[in-house]
Symmetry: C2
Subunit: 188 residues, 2 copies
């Protein structure tokens, strides 16, 4: 039976290789360049193999990449917790800028694939918790969950607008400072 176990392990490793190849290709050339044919060539298997790992096809592969992204984001935010609102905000923005394609997969694309199944997956809750942990102490009489959502939205909005070149490049750092100033101190 050990051979069977090895086969299962190999299969799992190959599934991981698919997601990793998709992520690398997406960061290098954008998600439009991530086609099932190119992925199959990268892992040196034929196209249908992708569908035995991810029956949902390309969308499922992107969703798997997005899940990895949420786990990594949660880790980054947890590490920055001691830096308070400013530290977490900076870490969030840095994450989005370091892995833009992954960030797109998490938010812009694959809008509802892994999230509409059984409510919210744990990794997404953990990422949210990373923001909540620093917002809650300064929420005052405001509902901390709602305030965290708005804080999150402000960061996310600035990131996406900035990426689309809708904002002036020179104010980049100042904008982040404004967000921290408006959310890092008690509003009322």
């Amino acid at each position: 039976m050990t051979q069977r176990q090895r086969r299962v392990r190999d299969r799992s490793e190959r599934g991981q290789r698919i997601v990793s190849a998709a992520r690398e290709l997406a960061e290098a050339e954008g998600w439009d360049a991530v086609t099932t044919r190119r992925l199959a060539a990268l892992i040196e298997y034929s196209q249908p193999v992708l569908y035995s790992h991810f029956p949902g096809g390309k969308d499922a592969i992107m969703a798997a990449a997005a899940l990895e992204g949420f786990a990594e984001l949660a880790e980054v935010l947890a590490s920055a917790r001691e830096g308070g609102v400013a530290g977490v905000a900076g870490a969030y923005v840095a994450f989005a800028e370091a892995k833009p394609a992954l960030y797109d997969a998490m938010f812009t694309l694959a809008s509802d694939l892994p999230f509409a199944q059984d409510d919210t997956p744990p990794v997404l809750q953990e990422a949210f918790a990373g923001l909540y942990a620093v917002v809650e102490p300064v929420a005052g009489r405001q509902a901390p969950g709602t305030l965290t959502e708005v804080f999150w939205g402000a960061l996310h909005g600035l990131i996406t607008l900035d990426r689309g070149r809708r904002l002036s490049p020179e104010n980049h750092a100042e904008r982040l400072a404004v967000v921290v100033a408006r959310f890092g101190a008690r509003g009322d």
Copy 2:
């Protein structure tokens, strides 16, 4: 020569019909359903006619729709100016929710087609001015342009996160109120 003028006018009207058909189809079935074949069928011409109007192809058609969207958004924001920060914020969100596909074309998709040509097109500046007009009076000693950008980012982020079902539906109105509270009053 009047016949030639009529031909030019007919041509212009047909170009408008293309953009209108694209917008209607996008709102009804999403931008993925907007294909050059379906657009050609809707305007009752063959595919290549689209390219005589928009040499850039589908992207150019989406960009034209996005430009219309910015003009309409600027108008909406200008009308809401007397409502102050709260009025403009509400009008902005209402616009995005009323025409989600158009809003996507303006921000999420077609990232840099009409914006990287000669700096910023006028309609985009007008839309930004609609936000700036209500933020500037409450900016205090803060740079009003930067504050407007952050205000814009907060609204945009909440809209996109909400659409991807990343936020709790019941806090929808409260989140907007928080944004208005944090940006509608002098921060420092």
